[in-house]
C-alpha cells in the first residue's frame, strides 16, 4: 500500500518547511542562550521539573486552563482547536496502527489516512471517534468565527487587530477543518465508511451528486485540504501560530529557572514568539479602557518587537502596572520584556554620570532600623510625619536615610531603560545603607521597595514596606492603635501588590484601625492609579483621567476614606477625587493614643 498521492505535495512541502524553520529557530535560540542558562537547563533536565513541565504543557498548551479562568467559552474555543486537533492526530495515528500494525507510515499517510484507507476494512469505532473529534474542532472553528463578530460573548471587549500574515494563516486555519470534513465526506460518498458526520454527509452527497462530479470533487477537496494545511504550515513560523510550538520549550525553560532580565537575551525570543496574540491583555489595559489608546498593549508590543519594528513611543507607553501579566495565558514576563526593550533603545552607559554622588551623605539619626522615605514621600509630608510618630510610639531608634534629600532609589530610571545608570544609584544607596550598619530597611514607597528587594545587594538587611513593618509592630504589641468606626477602602499600589505580592499586610493594618471595604477591582486585579513612573508617554491630563476612573471605583465602595500605601498613588488618586485620601501610616498614626 502506497501512502502517496499528488495532492499530498502541498502538505509535505509545507510540513517539511515548517519543521525545518522551527528546528532552526529553536536551535539558534538555545545556542545563543547565556552559558548559565544552558547550565540551568542541563541541571534541570533529570529532575522532577521536567515532569512538571510536561504536566503544564498538557494543561496549558492543550487544555488552555488559564484561558478558562478568563472566560469558559473562550477557554473552550482555544481548547477545542488545540486539544481537538491533538486528539485527531493521536487517534489518527492509533487508527493507522490498528489497521496496519506498527510499520513505517509517512506523515501524509497518517494525516490523509482516510484517503488511502478506502480499500481497508472499516473500523466504526475509529470512524466515530474521528468524526467526534472533528466535530469538536469544528465547534471551536465556529466559535472563532463567531468571536470575530461578537467577541463580548467570550468576555472580550476588544480583540487583536491582526497583521496581513496573521490573517492569511488564520484564514488557512479556518479552512483546514471544513476542508477536511468535505474531503473525507466525498471519500465516504464514493467508498463508504465514516460515521455520523463524514458518513452522513457522504451518504447525502452520494444520493445527490453523480459519480463523475463526485470523483472530481474528491480530488479537488483533498487538494484543497492539503493546500490549506501546507499554507498554514508555511505561514506558521512567521505568524502568531509560532506560539503553538514555542510555548512548549518556553514552559520547560521556565521550569528550569531561566528568566528574562533587564538586558535582552536569547530566552526573550521564546517568550516573544510564544505570544499567540489572543488579545486577552488588551481589555485589562487602562490605557485602552480609559484613554482609548489601542496600539501599545503587550500584544502589539510583542508583535512589533518580534518583527523588529518596535518604536520607542510604543515601548514607552505602558504603565507597567502588571494587569496584563496577571491575565496572560502564556505567563509571558511582559514587564521585563518591555523593560529590556527600553534598555536596548535607551541605555547609554556613561562612566562619569552621577559623579556628584561621591562623598554625599545627607542622612540623619542613628539606629538599626533605617527609613528610606523615597523621593515621592518627600512630597507627601503627612506620611513622613506619620512615620515619625509611629517610630516614636514604638520606641524605635531610626536612621533617616533621605529626610534631607537623598539619591533616588534608581527604579524610575531603570524603568525608563537607563539600567546601567540606575545601577549607580543602587550602588550609592546600598553603600550608604551598609555604611550606617542598619539591619532593617523600611520604606513607605513601593517603587523603592521593589528595587531594594530585587536589585539591591543587601545581605543582612531585611527590607520591609511600611505596611509590613507597621503590622509587625502592632502584632508585637509595640503599637496599639485604637479601632474606630471609620470605613476605609484600600487601593493596591501596583508595585506593592502585583509587583511585590504584598496584599494582606496593608489590609490587616487597616482592619486594626477601622472597617475595610473592597473595591470592585482589587488585589491582583486592582487598577493602576495612572501616574506610574514607568510611563513617560501619557500626558498629565491623561493621568488625571485614569485617576478619576480609579477614584470612581474606590468612591463607589461608600468608604469614608481612601487608603493607599504609595505616595505616588496617593498624589494621583487625590487628583481624581474630592474625598479624603490617606496613606496607611497616616491612619495608623491618627489612631494612636
Amino acid at each position: 500500500m502506497t501512502f502517496y498521492a499528488p495532492f499530498c505535495l502541498p502538505f509535505i512541502l509545507g510540513a517539511a518547511l515548517m519543521f525545518l524553520i522551527v528546528a532552526w529557530k529553536w536551535g539558534k535560540w538555545l545556542w545563543l542562550l547565556p552559558h548559565e542558562d544552558k547550565m540551568r537547563i542541563l541541571r534541570g533536565l533529570p529532575t522532577r521539573r521536567t515532569v512538571a513541565a510536561i504536566g503544564e504543557v498538557v494543561s496549558e498548551s492543550l487544555l488552555h486552563r488559564r484561558i478558562f479562568r478568563v472566560n469558559p467559552l473562550l477557554g473552550y474555543m482555544h481548547m477545542s482547536l488545540a486539544f481537538g486537533w491533538f486528539l485527531l492526530i493521536l487517534t489518527g495515528w492509533i487508527e493507522t496502527v490498528a489497521h496496519i500494525g506498527f510499520r513505517y507510515v509517512p506523515l501524509q499517510g497518517h494525516v490523509f489516512f482516510k484517503y488511502f484507507a478506502t480499500g481497508l476494512e472499516h473500523k466504526p469505532v475509529f470512524d466515530f471517534l474521528m468524526d467526534l473529534f472533528l466535530l469538536f474542532v469544528l465547534s471551536g472553528v465556529a466559535l472563532a468565527w463567531g468571536k470575530r463578530f461578537y467577541s463580548r460573548a467570550m468576555g472580550m471587549h476588544r480583540t487583536t487587530k491582526h497583521v496581513l500574515g496573521d490573517r492569511i494563516a488564520l484564514s488557512a486555519l479556518w479552512f483546514i477543518f471544513p476542508a477536511r470534513l468535505l474531503a473525507e465526506s466525498t471519500t465516504c460518498a464514493l467508498y463508504g465508511g465514516g460515521s455520523f458526520l463524514t458518513g452522513s454527509l457522504g451518504g447525502w452527497m452520494a444520493e445527490h451528486i453523480g459519480v463523475m462530479p463526485l470523483m472530481t470533487l474528491e480530488s479537488v477537496a483533498w487538494w484543497f485540504y492539503s493546500s490549506c494545511l501546507g499554507l498554514f504550515f508555511v505561514a506558521l513560523p512567521f505568524s502568531r501560530y509560532m506560539h503553538i510550538f514555542t510555548e512548549i520549550p518556553l514552559i520547560f525553560l521556565r521550569r528550569y529557572g531561566v528568566r528574562s532580565s533587564e538586558k535582552e537575551s536569547s530566552y526573550d525570543r521564546f517568550q516573544v514568539e510564544a505570544c499567540s496574540r489572543c488579545g486577552i491583555c488588551i481589555d485589562p489595559c487602562q490605557l485602552q479602557s480609559v484613554l482609548g489608546i489601542n496600539d501599545v498593549q503587550s500584544v502589539y508590543f510583542l508583535r512589533d518587537r518580534r518583527y523588529g519594528h518596535l518604536r520607542l513611543q510604543v515601548a514607552d507607553n505602558c504603565l507597567m502596572c502588571g494587569r496584563c501579566v496577571e491575565r496572560c495565558p502564556v505567563n509571558i514576563d511582559l514587564n521585563t520584556l518591555r523593560l529590556n526593550s527600553r534598555d536596548r533603545m535607551r541605555n547609554v552607559p556613561d562612566e562619569r554620570r552621577y559623579g556628584y554622588f561621591k562623598g554625599l551623605d545627607r542622612s540623619s539619626g542613628e539606629g538599626k532600623v533605617g527609613y528610606f522615605a523615597g523621593c515621592m514621600t518627600l512630597l507627601t509630608p503627612r506620611t513622613l510625619t506619620a512615620m515619625s510618630t509611629i517610630f516614636e510610639a514604638a520606641g524605635e531608634e531610626v536612621w533617616w536615610a533621605d529626610r534631607e534629600g537623598g539619591v533616588c532609589c534608581g527604579r524610575p530610571l531603570k524603568l525608563a531603560g537607563e539600567t546601567d545608570s540606575a545601577r549607580k544609584m543602587m550602588k550609592y544607596n546600598a553603600d550608604l545603607f551598609r555604611k550606617h550598619g542598619i539591619t532593617t530597611l523600611v520604606t513607605s514607597c513601593p517603587i523603592c521597595l521593589k528595587v531594594f528587594r530585587e536589585d539591591y545587594d543587601l545581605p543582612g538587611v531585611e527590607v520591609l514596606h511600611h505596611s509590613e513593618y507597621i503590622l509587625r509592630l502592632i502584632r508585637a504589641g509595640r503599637l496599639t492603635p485604637e479601632r474606630g468606626t471609620t470605613r476605609f477602602t484600600y487601593h493596591d499600589p501596583c508595585e506593592l501588590g502585583r509587583g511585590s505580592g504584598i496584599y494582606d499586610e496593608p489590609r490587616a493594618v487597616i482592619e486594626a484601625v477601622g472597617q475595610l471595604l473592597e473595591p470592585a477591582s482589587t488585589r491582583e486585579n486592582a487598577l493602576c492609579c495612572g501616574s506610574s513612573v514607568a510611563n513617560t508617554a501619557i500626558s498629565d491630563g491623561q493621568q488625571v483621567q485614569i485617576a478619576r476612573a480609579v477614584a470612581g471605583e474606590l468612591e463607589a465602595t461608600g468608604a469614608d476614606v481612601i487608603v493607599t500605601a504609595c505616595p505616588l498613588c496617593k498624589k494621583a488618586i487625590g487628583r481624581g477625587t474630592k474625598g479624603e485620601v490617606r496613606d496607611l501610616a497616616e491612619i495608623v498614626a491618627g489612631a494612636l493614643k
Binding site: V348, L379, V407, T536, S539
Partner: protein, 111 residues
C-alpha cells in the same frame, strides 16, 4: 595665526543669537512635546528637584536654553537628572517633565 600672544582672547559672546542658532532640534522637540512650550518658568520643578538639591542642575533653565537652540552641554546637564519624577507632580502646567528629559536626551544624544 596668532603669531603674538596678547594674554587674552576675544571673549565669546554670551548672547543667545537666534539668527545663528539652529532651531531644528528645538522645533522637533516642541513638535513631539508641544506642552513644553506652555512652561511659564515658575521654577517649581527646579525647586523640588532631587538632583537639583545636590547639584547645580536646573531643569527649567536647561530646557529653556534648548528651546532657544542652545544645545551645548544640555545633554550632560540632563544626565544629572535621576528621573525620580517629583517635578512632574508639581508642574502647574502639567508638563510631562520626565518625558521632556528623555526627549531632550534622545534628540541631543542622537539615539
Amino acid at each position: 595665526m596668532a603669531a603674538i600672544h596678547f594674554g587674552y582672547t576675544i571673549s565669546k559672546p554670551r548672547a543667545i543669537d537666534l539668527d545663528r542658532n539652529n532651531l531644528r532640534k528645538s522645533d522637533e522637540i516642541l513638535r513631539e512635546m508641544p506642552e513644553l512650550q506652555t512652561c511659564i518658568g515658575c521654577g517649581a520643578c527646579t525647586a523640588i528637584c532631587t538632583a537639583g538639591n545636590l547639584t547645580s542642575f536646573n531643569f527649567r533653565k536647561v530646557h529653556t536654553l534648548v528651546r532657544r537652540g542652545e544645545y551645548q552641554g544640555a545633554y550632560e546637564e540632563m544626565n544629572k537628572c535621576m528621573l525620580c519624577g517629583k517635578c512632574r507632580l508639581v508642574c502647574p502646567r502639567g508638563i510631562n517633565t520626565r518625558g521632556v528629559v528623555m526627549l531632550i536626551k534622545r534628540k541631543l544624544g542622537d539615539f
